[in-house]
Symmetry: C2
Subunit: 276 residues, 2 copies
């Protein structure tokens, strides 16, 4: 990706290597170190080249090792699109005017797990770090969905990690969207029901102070739960779910998308759909 000498003509490349994307734009993936001044000069000539080609968005992916190229890119008019621990994505909009570039990721996704055994006891934990440390509050296992992880997989993983209980995913019972929950970002929390496949609890040492099977009524009677509108809704939903009259959430069905053969999950009210 660096400027390279063409051995046949002995001339130096004047442009950065850009790969066309599907939206009339160009993606430059920088892999090798480059002198910042050379980079600035190549960037300038490349933009003018891409402008002649009527290109739209220009993306530059800079690995963190090339942090010295951030400043020259910004000086050429690039701005930040997103960053991951090991790279920064910069972007530039050639046509001028309002850009139609895709937005950065805006949400973190979390899961909470409602797991009930045959004795109407629910799996609860006490956390030994974060907001709940030392409060004695019993809560459902919760966690953050990993990058690229399915919600139904994340819920099973979190329960296993925190309590060693094996479970089978049943349904998403409800979800909450909240804003500015960390930095300026938003959060979607999925309340999930899981069916236990094992019953002997072994709590995780590092984050979990205690874990047990607790009667749902005892969980619900905690002042902390009684005082929170959201948690009261959650208790109502969980009670309705295990009641004979039932509550129907969204269950995952694997399906393919319109644009790829990748399998992904579509979550729907399968009980109501089957009735038709």
């Amino acid at each position: 990706m660096s400027a390279s000498v063409n051995s046949s003509s002995a001339t130096v490349n004047k442009f950065l290597n850009g790969i066309n994307d599907n939206y009339g734009g160009v993606v430059v993936q920088m892999n090798e170190p480059m002198d910042p001044q050379l980079f600035a000069s190549l960037l300038k000539s490349s933009i003018s080249h891409w402008r002649q080609q009527a290109k739209k968005g220009v993306w530059i992916k800079l690995p963190i090792e090339l942090a010295n190229l951030v400043e020259p890119a910004v000086k050429e008019g690039f701005w930040f699109h997103h960053a991951e621990p090991n790279y920064l994505m910069l972007v530039y909009w050639i046509p001028g005017g309002a850009n139609t570039l895709p937005a950065n990721a805006s949400h973190r996704v979390g899961v909470g797990a409602f797991v009930m055994n045959g004795k109407r006891e629910v799996l609860v934990v006490q956390e030994n770090s974060g907001r709940f440390r030392g409060t004695g509050i019993w809560k459902f296992p919760t966690g953050v969905v990993d990058e690229g992880e399915d919600i139904c997989v994340a819920a099973v993983r979190e329960v296993k990690e925190e309590t060693s209980i094996d479970t089978e995913f049943v349904e998403v019972l409800a979800f909450r969207q909240s804003h500015q929950s960390f930095f300026e970002k938003s959060d979607i929390f999925f309340l999930c029901m899981l069916r236990p496949l094992s019953f002997d609890i072994q709590k995780q040492e590092s984050e979990i102070e205690a874990a047990e099977w607790m009667p749902l009524e005892e969980y619900a009677a905690q002042p902390y739960v009684q005082n929170q509108e959201l948690l009261k809704y959650i208790v109502d939903i969980c009670s309705a779910k295990v009641d004979t009259r039932g509550y129907h959430g969204f269950s995952p069905v694997p399906t393919t998308s319109a644009f790829s053969d990748k399998k992904h999950y579509f979550y729907l009210n399968s009980v109501d759909l089957k009735r038709h």
Copy 2:
């Protein structure tokens, strides 16, 4: 936030101004330009100061105007946490070992709108840009949820923008989670039902080629819809929803969270919950 001369003692500050966060960490918000060498030196002494104080995560928020400070921060061991167009957030973990820093946002959130009038006609559009350009495919209005926007607000906004139809949000009927849908990020698409409050269509000029009320059967008969597993599910759900036997999605109820008085929406199967 820059190093400042203390007029009474005429000594220069040796540390960056850090504000303690709730997790044993420090947040440094850089506002004013600073010489990169001075920044590197202050960063070094600050880290050693924070280490003595047993601080954990160190966050540095750099506005894009201070892009010249990215390289010195990375040289001191910082890495990228996230970026928005106008700033980069860098982070460092003092204790060593695996860090427990919160993950970056991982998902973009989209909405699709099922809007049906009293004649069993559904609101559909043809897009004049992107993948669907020139295909003649009729589709439900769709869009991306803006930063900080509620799903139920975004669905109403997108329908209004694309067709000028006023609507009232009814339910989330289903949702799909997909991965690597843009860059390495994931996507959650919420299929929403909305009730029309007006009926005269005025299409958006820039992105919409055509918009109309179309019999649901005609929409469903499109080969494009027939050939896509996901779209067939969507048709089944929408048909079930308007059928007399019904399909129950998740409707939004405004509620407060455990940790703030901010209102947010909790989406649940209110029909099943009311029955209890």
